[in-house]
């Protein structure tokens, strides 16, 4: 009716708003993170998510309206995954030496990450849909959502768990490694990539190129193994319940 509401009708229907809001919030969050001298608690992803949610609530906009614009950023996860081939290639010489222990650690890490969450939530009385949505939470978002759909979880809930896990891994990782005196960059990278996928990889690249490359490698391998491994372990677990 009024001019004001016409503006909001436009904003909630146009993808421009969601897209701009995402970029502005992220840039602000990165600025804050840098001002805080890279304190991992000021994680830019967590900050920008909270910022965006605040704006959406304040203006009464739905997630669907927001995502109609934000999907363009979400889409770039695909080509960015392909681009990980470059750092992977850079570390290929080292990879050839460690592939056997790497694969073994990967299978163990993927299973423990997913099913420890499953059993803890089960003990604390979470609903079945929540349990099933938790299992692929350490796998990178698009793949995790696919696994969740196949095993009876809620893909969008899984996406949320994936992002929270990634933020937690990025925050906790370096402190944990320091505390336990784990110094090998390849070991640290693999742990970050398996547990905290792309966000762990992004954090690892900030710490060292070698750690980043191994995180990217572990994330990519986990993304290829998990769609087979996790449903298999789940059917095994369900048989004994």
């Amino acid at each position: 009716m009024t001019n004001d509401s016409a503006i909001w009708v436009y904003l909630s229907a146009s993808p421009l708003f969601g897209l701009t809001l995402t970029l502005v919030s992220y840039l602000l969050a990165v600025k804050l993170y840098q001002t805080g001298r890279g304190n991992p608690l000021l994680n830019p992803v967590a900050l920008s998510i909270l910022l965006i949610m605040g704006v959406l609530y304040a203006f009464n906009l739905t997630y669907e309206a927001y995502f109609s614009g934000a999907q363009f950023i979400h889409f770039l996860l695909g080509p960015a995954t392909v681009a990980l081939a470059i750092p992977l290639f850079d570390q290929f010489g080292k990879l050839k030496k460690v592939w056997l222990p790497l694969t073994a650690a990967l299978v163990l890490g993927i299973t423990v990450s997913g099913f420890s969450a499953y059993f803890i939530a089960l003990q604390l009385g979470a609903s079945e849909q929540t349990l099933l949505s938790l299992i692929p939470k350490s796998v990178t978002a698009p793949i995790a959502m696919g696994i969740s759909e196949k095993t009876g979880g809620l893909p969008t809930l899984t996406a949320v768990f994936v992002v929270i896990t990634g933020i937690l891994g990025a925050i906790l990782g370096s402190t944990l490694f320091k505390l336990l005196k784990i110094r090998d960059d390849s070991v640290k990278g693999v742990a970050m990539g398996v547990t905290a996928h792309g966000l762990g990889t992004a954090r690892s690249f900030q710490l060292s190129p070698e750690m980043g490359a191994f995180a990217g490698l572990a994330m990519a391998l986990s993304a290829s193994i998990s769609p087979f491994l996790l449903p298999l372990v789940l059917s095994f677990v369900q048989r004994f319940q």
Binding site: V45, P79, P101, T130, L157
Partner: protein, 122 residues
């Protein structure tokens, strides 16, 4: 290599990956297949990596930005999270710590194990 060419190449590899996955109905995601295909290409032609690196570095620096839209999906699930917040918080927190530790320790353990089995020191 110009930025636009690199982006186009990445999309082509992703597209081929998606088509392969679709064609063979594999449960793996298309971008992962695309990445493995690009890796194979680079192993055959190393100069490719040098040419693409400047652009791909730019994309990978902002990798975390790409997770923001999915994370905002939190607001759709708020009522569930309110009801089950304790179970979910503890499950996510403890499993992340366990995941990091088990992966790091098993990697170190298996490295020693396989190396001593094959009889070389380092």
């Amino acid at each position: 290599m110009p930025f636009l060419t690199v982006i186009t190449l990445l999309l082509i590899y992703q597209l081929i990956g998606e088509l392969i996955v679709l064609g063979f109905s594999w449960p793996i995601p298309g971008p992962v297949v695309g990445m493995l295909l690009l890796l194979m290409t680079l192993l055959l032609r190393a100069s490719f990596a040098t040419e693409m690196r400047a652009s791909t570095d730019k994309i990978l620096t902002h990798l975390s930005l790409l997770f923001v839209p999915a994370g905002v999906g939190l607001m759709v699930h708020l009522s569930r999270l309110e009801q089950e917040w304790l179970a979910i918080t503890l499950a996510l927190f403890i499993s992340t710590v366990l995941g990091l530790l088990v992966t790091a320790w098993s990697m170190m353990l298996f490295s020693k194990w396989f190396q001593s089995e094959r009889g070389y020191d380092k």
